[in-house]
Subunit: 216 residues, 2 copies
Amino acid sequence: MSSNDLDTARDRIIEAAGEIFAERGFEATTVRDICQAAAANIAAVNYYFGDKQRLFVETVLTAHRWRMDQAALPNWTADTPPRKKLADFIATFIRRVRTGPKDTWQNRLIMREMMRPDAACAEVVRDSIRPQFEILLGILRALLPEDTSAESLHLTAFSIVGQCLFYHFADPVVRHLVDDIEYAEFSIDKLACHIANFSLAALEYTARHVDAETAT
Amino acid sequence: MSSNDLDTARDRIIEAAGEIFAERGFEATTVRDICQAAAANIAAVNYYFGDKQRLFVETVLTAHRWRMDQAALPNWTADTPPRKKLADFIATFIRRVRTGPKDTWQNRLIMREMMRPDAACAEVVRDSIRPQFEILLGILRALLPEDTSAESLHLTAFSIVGQCLFYHFADPVVRHLVDDIEYAEFSIDKLACHIANFSLAALEYTARHVDAETAT
DNA sequence: TATTGATTGAAACAGTTGTTTGAAACAGAT
DNA sequence: ATCTGTTTCAAACAACTGTTTCAATCAATA
């Protein structure tokens, strides 16, 4: 999003809408606030996007495209070991997801919308989340026995992304649970390293003890 | 919450408000919908609570008190193995957290408000979340080597609760990623079983290979 | 310059929001 | 029955919402 792109009213509206949507959510955001922040007329939203809902969808999709370009997966060769692929995936994923003071409205908006089951969510899942999900499943297939069921594969994938997403969704809670010094030490690299270790350990263990049972 | 408590309009309003607030959030909820669901007059909200905002605060506090009364963790004896404790903890945690038709609005409301750092829910973290967190840390201390650092302990705990919280926060995405048949199979027991297996495997592996390193 | 099409502007629209009003209905005590 | 304080009700309030309208403005082309 170079500064040149902001000279048209349409782009200014998306930029302003993204920040306000990310901060207050869809319902609490008014088109008047958006247009005022974008230095555009009230009618501009309906002129360019039809209605508020479609502006919202367009904003979410724009945010997602932007986010995908920011932190891309490294280029893997044919002989890249799956363990390395998984570590790369986790590091990239947590880099995309982690919020902070320097966080962009694109990230906050996507995260907020993951919990809102509506049209925008469905499109984002189809266009952007599912491809990433399939990449992860491919990595896990190489790390787990061949007869692993699709369901187990999915649950394992959810366990991995769940660990990453936690540091976004529960960030206010994390901030209260550990002291400030330790919180400051939670760098992206450290979190990614821990999650990769934790998950790889679980995978290597279960890969040997197929059909592990819960302690009872 | 016996049916006797719903006699007064005030209690009916809190009950209805809790369900709608938990589902749609504060902004998207109208006092008209609340009063209609509570079979009360429009003026009742302002009569009993002053305004919509104070009704909301009262509802969150009520949900918090209700959740505190739910003694969900089973009674452990001195010789209950830590593995069993961890499995119990995970099952209880995911049962509290999981969103679904059978879930209570009290849980969903607390979960929703957990991500508002500015709200007065910092005390909810202090009164309700931290004690649970300390319980989990105690279990993990028994499962990990004694020289495990506090930071590693915390990261491990976050990995576990992160897996559980995922199914709450990312539920709409999960619904789109797997087909309906598989989604219907994601019972609370199955999810809890998987997360316990995954986490115990990771713990048992790292307990042997202290200071595991990321594959590079 | 005149014309065309795209964009902007201020005002108004119809509907909904949270809130208030004042009278009616109620219950219990004198 | 009368008085008291509490609770309910329908109606209306003022403010705000997303959206529409239509004239004004602008840029480029013939």
